[in-house]
């Protein structure tokens, strides 16, 4: 996949052509100083444009300066910008429209000071509670945490009234430490706020897992898993962290009651037992503590999505063969044909289709020392991480193609009579790109 081109597209879309040139140069060169950039881009006004471009990128967290004075682009953060509309919608669903406005301000500007936050006319009167909500859910964080005190005192109570402005808000950093974050008032313009982009992935992960449980079991089971995930994910830095904390059943029941869900204890216990079953594996029980098996749930969704992609691309026989190889790990072609109830010719055809697409691998095992082909056994298997990587590459390619098509449509001469139709087509492509990016998140980022 052509990473500089993908990076270039999203930076050009958000910041303009020159910033895109700078970002692409940084990605393709692996990092360079400002002077080198000026020289490479042959700027004539003494580096002013390059400096402004670098400041824009730095403010949005897309580049950083290393110890040697070289600027390096953060490709993964740049790619995250594809998903900003989705993040904005997630925040609106989770925390409300006021919080969405705050987040959108930060997505556009990268970092904002307290003064900018409170003086921006788009952010309404609910900004204090929105800010509090975003901070307590770790979506927002101050840029310099070291400037604040840490303490081992229990956390302060959350404010219920938006008219009261507390001086500090305590949030737990880990099991032992808390940070007392001062809530800024209008006079305090020093605090600079930025988004914790990794939190969006955690929120997306939460949503995927909750949807899975809701659809495969029921709404109440989904509410239980959502309650467990909310308690644990907020405390973790990433999904791959192995130190997910457990939550007691009593806490979950209390949370469900607080959220207004009616709780039938015996039915709830039955649902929890079902989810703790080894063949389901959504939750794990440690005494009265419950632990969400996020990796298991994500793997189930990833696997089923991969199967659906194969079904749509190659047909039901190919999906059956893929599923068989995932179950049985390693098989010869004739065994695969027998177990999948396909004739040998069809089975071989499906295996080679999967192999050409990169979803299946074949290993040659010689039976004689001369490696004679007629005496070799060919063993087929599926390497899931490799299959997911191929799918992610395919999605990247599709995104790039759709964006190129969008660019072509914008550059074409416009005819008045079909302006509305063209606008709809462009929106359709943009929505498709966003959906592809959400798909990509599942296969590449949520691990």
């Amino acid at each position: 996949m052509d990473i500089p081109k993908v990076v270039g597209i999203v930076v050009e879309r958000d910041f303009g052509v020159f910033v895109e040139l700078v970002a692409s140069e940084l990605v393709s060169s692996g990092g360079c100083t400002e002077r080198e950039l000026v020289k490479r881009l042959e700027e004539k006004d003494g580096g002013g444009q390059v400096q402004r471009a670098l400041m824009t990128l730095a403010r949005n967290g897309l580049v950083h300066k290393d110890d040697g004075g070289k600027f390096r682009a953060d490709v993964s953060t740049i790619n995250l910008r594809w998903r900003f509309p989705y993040f904005s919608v997630m925040v609106a669903e989770e925390f409300g429209e006021e919080a969405q406005l705050v987040v959108e301000l930060l997505l556009v500007h990268g970092k904002v000071t307290s003064k900018q936050l409170f003086t921006d006319e788009r952010v309404g009167s609910g900004r204090i509670s929105a800010l509090e909500t975003l901070i307590s859910n770790r979506v927002l964080e101050p840029e310099k945490l070291a400037a604040f005190e840490t303490s081992e005192h229990p956390p302060a109570k959350r404010m219920r009234s938006s008219t009261e402005v507390p001086k500090t808000l305590s949030i737990k950093i880990n099991s032992r430490e808390e940070a007392l974050i001062p809530i800024p008032d209008k006079t305090d313009s020093d605090t600079t706020w930025k988004l914790r982009l990794s939190q969006f992935h955690l929120m997306a992960c939460n949503k995927i897992c909750t949807d899975l449980v809701r659809q495969t079991i029921d709404v109440q089971a989904g509410a239980v898993v959502e309650a467990v995930l909310k308690k644990t994910l907020l405390k973790e830095e990433s999904i791959s962290s192995s130190s997910f904390q457990s939550v007691s059943e009593a806490t979950i029941v209390q949370d469900l009651k607080d959220s207004g869900t009616s709780v039938d204890r015996s039915a709830l216990d039955g649902k929890i037992e079902l989810m703790c079953r080894p063949d389901i594996g959504y939750l794990r029980r440690f005494g009265d503590q419950l632990h969400a098996e996020v990796t298991t749930m994500l793997n189930i969704v990833r696997r089923k999505t991969a199967e659906e992609i194969i079904l749509k691309r190659f047909g039901p026989e190919a999906r059956r063969m893929f599923s068989l190889l995932m179950h049985k790990k390693k098989l010869e072609a004739k065994h695969a044909a027998e177990l999948s109830m396909l004739n040998q010719r069809k089975a071989r055809e499906m295996l080679f289709k999967l192999h050409d697409a990169g979803y299946a691998t074949v290993q040659e095992v010689p039976r004689t020392s001369d490696f004679k082909q007629s005496k070799c056994i060919y063993i087929w298997s599926v390497n899931l991480p490799e299959a997911y990587k191929r799918i992610a590459q395919h999605i990247d390619r599709s995104c790039l193609n759709l964006y190129r098509r969008l660019k072509t449509m914008e550059e074409e001469p416009r005819e008045k009579q079909d302006a509305d139709f063209r606008r709809k087509q462009k929106e359709f492509i943009e929505v498709s790109i966003l959906r592809l990016q959400i798909n990509l998140m599942l296969f590449r980022d949520l691990k």
Binding site: K304, E307, R319, M341, N401, R435
Partner: protein, 300 residues
């Protein structure tokens, strides 16, 4: 030169002598010498007549010739049933050898190349003998599902083994009977929906009782079918470890998992020529006809 004595056609003396010889050797599976048979016969019979009787009984397959290990003297013993049967079929030497080999292979059959290798017969003679046996409906040709090009011979009245015929899931053309399998899928889905957590044995019994198929299904047949249903996500399996160390596998109706598949909803996800797609190339996103069609038919 004296004229050769011809075997009399309906000589009652020979027939009586044959009966006498058979009576003498009856239950003597190790055989008797000529002298012992003579002593056991109720009537005297000269050497010529005895020789004619022995030859007649040997050709009819009622007597078999053995040799005493000590002095290599011939012994006459009652023939085994299969020898009698073969003699009754009136086959020549090649045909008899072929028939014996084919009979030994039982319901698995024997490949024509293996027949030629074992008997070392020229191809023409082998084919003539096999053709003769086939025309007399003593043997038949069967095709294997796994190796359709091989000609496999077996006795006419034997049913081929499941490895050759493929089992209940195959039709006459040695291909999977997809229509029949689809009906069985629906039946199994209904069974596990009504009563979740059935074992393969229970499902097998219910399918056999339903009478959907002409032949009885075995547990192996049903497990093969259930496996494909699991791979197709029609049903799910649950494995439970029992107290005696065995694993109990039960099946239940699976619920669909919400997937996040946007790839195949775009034309690039299903494009057969995506590997050739390049900006400005013959196949390019700028002028792709698949994207054109997709945008024309866009569905919000």
């Amino acid at each position: 030169m004296p004229p050769r004595s011809r075997k009399p056609r309906n000589d009652p003396a020979i027939t009586a002598l044959e009966r006498g010889v058979l009576e003498a050797v009856k239950d003597k599976k190790h055989g008797l010498t000529d002298a012992e048979i003579l002593a056991a016969l109720p009537q005297e019979a000269d050497q010529n007549k005895r020789a004619i009787a022995y030859n007649s009984l040997l050709s009819k397959g009622k007597l078999q010739l053995l040799r005493r290990a000590l002095d290599r003297e011939p012994l006459y013993a009652p023939a085994k049933a299969e020898v009698t049967k073969l003699a009754g079929l009136r086959l020549n030497i090649n045909e008899t050898a072929l028939y014996k080999l084919i009979e030994e292979s039982n319901n698995k059959g024997i490949w024509s190349r293996d027949l030629r290798r074992c008997l070392n017969l020229p191809k023409v003679q082998l084919e003539k003998a096999l053709k003769d046996l086939e025309s007399r409906k003593l043997v038949k040709t069967v095709k294997s599902v796994s190796q359709a090009n091989k000609k496999i011979y077996m006795l006419y009245n034997i049913q081929p083994a499941p490895e050759l015929s493929g089992g209940p899931w195959f039709n006459e053309n040695h291909d999977y009977d997809t229509e029949c399998i689809r009906i069985i899928y629906q039946q199994v889905t209904a069974l596990v929906k009504d009563k979740p957590n059935l074992t393969s044995k229970e499902i097998c019994e219910k399918l056999n009782d339903s009478g959907l198929l002409n032949e009885k299904l075995t547990n192996d047949n049903v497990e093969q079918l259930l496996g494909t249903m699991v791979y197709d996500s029609m049903i799910a399996e649950q494995k439970k470890q029992l107290s005696d160390g065995t694993t109990k596998v039960t099946y239940y109706k699976s619920t669909p998992v919400p997937t996040h598949n946007a790839l195949t909803e775009t034309p690039c996800g299903l494009c057969p020529v995506i590997s050739q797609c390049r900006p400005g190339g013959e196949v390019s996103p700028e002028n792709c006809i698949y994207i054109d069609q997709w945008l024309q038919g866009m569905d919000w």
